[in-house]
């Protein structure tokens, strides 16, 4: 029986506003969670897939020991993954009398699993017939042809094997992205390795296992393989290696937390609407109870209303969220044709969980309270103003914190953020209370719009404080996002400004510098500064010899060194994107000093004042650590672990690195450059720049989307709040109209009331946004603070505009009802 009563009441109640406000608020919460988390997952997956292309596989296992066939069997047979093998080692190549140290990569036929290996049957990377790697052939990096003096079709010796030069490497997906280059690169077939007889016990050979396939299968395989891994085998990190990995991670957290605040606003709207719904139904419940309904029956009736609204919002929210994800995946496909969209369940359950938390902790409490209404209320006058009880504040606060935890995944961060928000709310309430109390009502006399408006604001102080908090928060977020978006995009663009060097030249010798300078002048290319590079090995710290090879088996107490040769440089000025953390940069005339990068200093346990000894070209050089530097590894410029004072290295033969910007349409210049300076390597970072730009675009879209959600949620809060005061306002208007107040007076009072509320919210928001921007500018972007003048008019204008328009839109109908009709409505209750 209760079901038919519940259904009838529900159906009729849909015509009133509150259930729709609750439904829309929950829909907004679910939809935004699903789409935001789905979109960031999509972007992340696109990034991972792109980084898979840079790694030639989805997963790479590195080892210093020969291939373990068990792992390949496990991957191929039990998890249906594709596999490839790769070995890498340094060796000498011989051609007649010429010889050259090269980095040899031997790969199996299935290489690469992701991305493309492009080989040309030519000595030049710009033109030639496409070739396929087959056993018996080697392919060279362009500069090696000149270094060895060979052509395509010539024979070279590698170890005991004789191999034919097949052509040039045009694109190697997993080539190391190092501006230092190192030895020239060679690709050969894995099947030829035994014939070289290079692999001997103790040879330094890197083995790589390449895997690709379905994400789930990969994850299962990884989990299973982990049990079988030896100390020599470790997984290669995939996403962090790209220069923008860190930036994307920060952006994702920022997006989710900003989106969360929109969700919290929506949940507040749901709470207000549910309170209002309950308050309006108190009389009905008392009547039905007087007629014999039990508390359980009432709970079933109103619980089913909430359940229906939740189900409706959940389904609509999930569908809308999925559509948004679909749209973004379609967008990713436009610029990344081979992007494989993957369905993920995570956004869906995250959305559903958010909906349940919002419904249970924000909206269910008033409904629960409603069922406790005593039958005796039937004989009392209904209260005109809704009251939010303490427990509802508590459950609401708990829900906000739970959501923060859910989204950030970090307990400490969520507690900190929650306390910050609570403090902010308390501050706003206190300030609003002071302001409203300070504005004294005008002396008795003629009724005026300002007097009525202020009286209204004072009377609804608590309800207004809540509105003020939500509105200030919404406007604050809108302003912050708007300005931060500009700031964030600006920062990324500054990192890769228009015309930033995109071609790096390495291995330039002293004579080639002149040739290069002339070439640049002729072609009107702007060369970056030359960084000298001298390779050296760190031998000892404070006369303590370093262990040169880090192995897990070695239990000696000896300090572990870097394990490879370092690229050392000398500079007089501190490079861009470097900051001194401890000590001082070299003063003029400084002798025998070294500046050490922070991470390596920590790893080697190096402190200021320590003495480091290097072996450079057979000579030993000592330097005292005079500073510890922080380096921005995301910046696209040469970065160095060790920078020595000029006196130490100036006499050693050095190679140089420089860079220039080349627009895509002038790429043929690279051929000329290759012919002119055959031993110089050109490294293009166009791919990375394109990737960063893609991400900037994605994040910009996501930020605009969050802005929209926040504005919608804030509007919803105001709609719910105004609805909650509708009956009280109706009564007041009826009395004022009966007493002869004119339409214009009432209209102006109403407009002024909302405008004042909006101005206060806008003012608070502006102040907070400016403070937050100051913090972000100085701490995150490390820029000097510049005031945002436009913020100071945008905030209040936004507040006044939004609040007045929304308030007027809701109450204009009430004003247009004739006085007599209004009175009748009020008297009928």
């Amino acid at each position: 029986m209760w079901a038919s009563i519940a259904w009838r009441l529900f159906w009729r109640e849909l015509r009133r506003g509150e259930l729709w406000v609750i439904a829309f608020a929950l829909f907004l919460a679910v939809g935004s969670v699903v789409s935001l988390s789905g979109i960031t997952e999509g972007v992340k997956s696109a990034l991972l897939q792109r980084s898979a292309q840079f790694n030639a596989a989805d997963k790479v296992l590195r080892s210093s020991q020969p291939f373990d066939e068990q792992l390949f069997e496990l991957a191929e047979q039990q998890h249906q993954l594709s596999t490839a093998r790769q070995m890498q080692f340094d060796s000498m190549l011989f051609s007649g009398d010429a010889m050259q140290l090269a980095t040899i990569k031997a790969v199996s036929s299935s290489y690469p699993l992701r991305g493309d290996l492009v080989l040309y049957r030519s000595e030049l990377v710009t033109a030639g017939e496409t070739a396929v790697l087959t056993p018996g052939q080697v392919f060279f990096e362009a500069r090696l042809f000149d270094l060895l003096g060979v052509k395509v079709g010539d024979e070279v010796e590698l170890g005991l094997a004789k191999l034919q030069v097949g052509g040039v490497i045009v694109n190697e997906p997993d080539a190391p992205l190092s501006v230092f280059g190192g030895s020239p690169r060679v690709i050969m077939h894995l099947d030829d390795v035994p014939a070289t007889d290079i692999v001997q016990p103790g040879s330094r050979i890197g083995y790589r296992y390449l895997f690709a396939g379905d994400t789930t299968a990969l994850a299962q395989f990884e989990a299973e393989a982990n049990d079988k891994l030896s100390v020599h085998q470790r997984w290669q990190k995939m996403d962090r290696e790209s220069a923008i990995g860190g930036a994307l991670e920060r952006a994702e957290r920022f997006l989710l937390l900003a989106g969360l605040l929109g969700i919290v606003l929506a949940a507040c709207a749901a709470a207000v609407a549910a309170s209002r719904y309950s308050q309006r139904h108190t009389r009905a419940v008392a009547i039905v109870k007087a007629l014999g309904a039990t508390t359980a029956q009432i709970r079933l009736i109103y619980g089913s209303h909430l359940l229906l609204v939740v189900l409706f919002s959940l389904v609509c929210g999930l569908v809308a969220g999925q559509l948004a994800i679909g749209a973004v995946q379609w967008g990713i496909n436009l610029y990344m044709a081979d992007y494989r969209a993957e369905f993920s369940i995570r956004p869906l359950w995250l959305g559903a969980l958010t909906c349940v938390i919002c419904a249970l902790l924000f909206a269910a409490r008033p409904m629960w309270r409603l069922a406790n209404t005593a039958a005796i209320e039937v004989l009392k006058q209904p209260a005109a103003q809704f009251v939010v009880d303490k427990l509802q504040w508590l459950t609401g606060a708990a829900a906000i914190w739970a959501l923060m935890w859910l989204f950030s995944g970090e307990l400490v961060l969520s507690i900190g953020l929650f306390l910050l928000c609570a403090g902010f709310a308390a501050l706003l309430i206190a300030t609003a209370a002071v302001i409203v109390r300070l504005v004294k009502p005008a002396a008795a006399g003629q009724a005026s719009a300002p007097k009525l408006a202020i009286a209204n604001l004072r009377r609804r102080l608590w309800a207004n404080s809540f509105q003020l908090i939500t509105f200030s928060l919404a406007i604050f977020l809108a302003l912050l996002l708007y300005f931060l978006r500009a700031e964030l995009i600006g920062q990324w663009q500054r990192q890769i400004p228009e015309g930033a060097p995109n071609q790096f030249l390495v291995n330039i010798n002293q004579q080639q510098r002149t040739v290069l300078n002339n070439f640049a002048r002729e072609q009107q290319l702007q060369l970056d500064q030359y960084y000298p590079v001298v390779r050296g090995r760190l031998l000892s710290i404070n006369d303590e010899q370093l262990q040169q090879e880090a192995t897990k088996e070695d239990r000696s107490q000896q300090r572990v060194g870097v394990g490879r040769e370092l690229n050392l440089t000398w500079l007089t000025a501190l490079p861009k994107n470097n900051h001194i953390l401890q000590g001082n940069w070299f003063t003029e005339g400084a002798t025998a000093q070294v500046s050490v990068e922070e991470e390596i200093a920590e790893r080697l346990e190096v402190k200021l004042g320590d003495s480091l000894a290097f072996s450079i070209g057979g000579q030993q050089v000592s330097a005292v650590v005079s500073s510890i530097r922080k380096v921005d590894w995301n910046s696209l410029q040469p970065n160095f672990y060790m920078i020595l004072s000029p006196d130490l290295l100036a006499d050693f033969p050095a190679t140089y690195i420089t860079a220039f910007y080349l627009p895509a349409e002038r790429n043929q210049l690279l051929n000329q450059l290759a012919r002119l300076l055959p031993t110089v390597s050109v490294i293009s970072v166009d791919n990375i720049i394109a990737q960063v730009n893609d991400i900037i675009d994605q994040v910009t879209v996501a930020l605009s989307f969050i802005l929209l959600i926040i504005c919608l949620a804030a509007a919803l809060v105001l709609v719910a709040q105004v609805q909650a005061t509708l009956e009280q306002r109706e009564q007041e208007l009826a009395i004022l109209r009966t007493l002869g107040a004119r339409y214009a007076l009432l209209r102006n009072a109403l407009l002024l009331e909302f405008a004042l509320l909006g101005a206060m919210a806008g003012g608070f928001a502006t102040l907070l946004a400016e403070l937050m921007l100051l913090l972000v500018q100085q701490r995150v972007f490390e820029l000097p603070f510049t005031p945002h003048y436009s913020l100071w008019w945008m905030g209040p204008a936004l507040g006044i505009g939004m609040v007045t328009l929304l308030g007027w839109w809701q109450l204009r109908r009430l004003l247009s009802i004739p006085g007599a009709q209004l009175m009748r409505r009020v008297l009928q209750g």
Partner: protein, 235 residues
């Protein structure tokens, strides 16, 4: 002659409410016995405590002290839900401000108590009652579309749908004009007589009170006078 069956029995009822400045006693030491089928008017000026007494007799509220028995059940010992069950089975209400649910139509308002009590033929009963109160044509009207008199007729039909043993009416005609009020009173007493219901009527209208067999006059929370009419005088 059979001894009349006692239907409602109140013994030394008192009701106080807590205020910020202390407590206020609204009812003092009220004892009252109402027999099955009897019509009793509780008369008094505004604030005399008559509505509070009605709320205690009907089990809407519990007394601060004293006992109330309705249909053999000790209401003062029962929980809110247990009292609701007694009301669903034995009690009908007519209120001064009609108290119809605005989102239900006339017929849905009438069937509501029957549906809550699980009565199977609720709709048929409601249609009969609508006919008896002269509103068959307005079955699907919402309260806002009905006049005050029509709303009260719907409320009376609602009160009788569960065929209650006792009907509580709180100022049933106070919100209506004299002519409509008179018609409502006639309807109430006619249906009451037809169904043999015990009637407890709260009013400040002496003329209406005189239509009951007994009038209990209240002042400042106490009975000051009880008058019993001859059945012949009751109209």
């Amino acid at each position: 002659m059979n001894t009349p069956e006692v239907h409602i029995n109140a013994v030394r009822l008192a009701k106080s409410v807590k205020l910020t400045e202390g407590s206020l006693t609204i009812l003092h030491d009220i004892s009252l016995t109402i027999n099955r089928g009897e019509t009793v008017a509780i008369v008094g000026a505004s604030g005399s405590g008559k509505s509070t007494l009605l709320s205690l007799l009907a089990g809407l509220d519990v007394p601060s002290s004293g006992e109330v028995h309705l249909a053999g059940q000790a209401l003062h010992r029962l929980s809110e839900d247990e009292r609701a069950a007694i009301r669903a089975e034995h009690v009908g209400f007519v209120f001064q401000s009609f108290l119809l649910l605005p989102s239900l139509t006339a017929i849905e308002n009438i069937t509501l108590p029957a549906e809550l009590a699980g009565v199977k033929d609720a709709r048929e009963r409601a249609l009969t009652l609508l006919k008896q109160v002269g509103l068959s044509e307005r079955a699907d009207f919402y309260p806002a579309q009905l006049s005050g008199g029509e709303q009260q007729r719907v409320a009376i039909a609602r009160a009788f749908i569960t065929r209650p043993a006792v009907l509580f009416a709180d100022e049933p005609s106070a919100n209506l004009d004299a002519v409509t009020g008179q018609k409502i009173e006639d309807l109430l007493f006619r249906l009451n007589a037809e169904q043999g219901t015990t009637l407890v009527l709260v009013t400040h209208n002496d003329e209406l009170a005189r239509r009951c067999q007994r009038q209990c006059r209240m002042q400042a929370g106490r009975f000051i006078d009880t008058t019993t009419q001859d059945l012949a005088d009751v109209g």
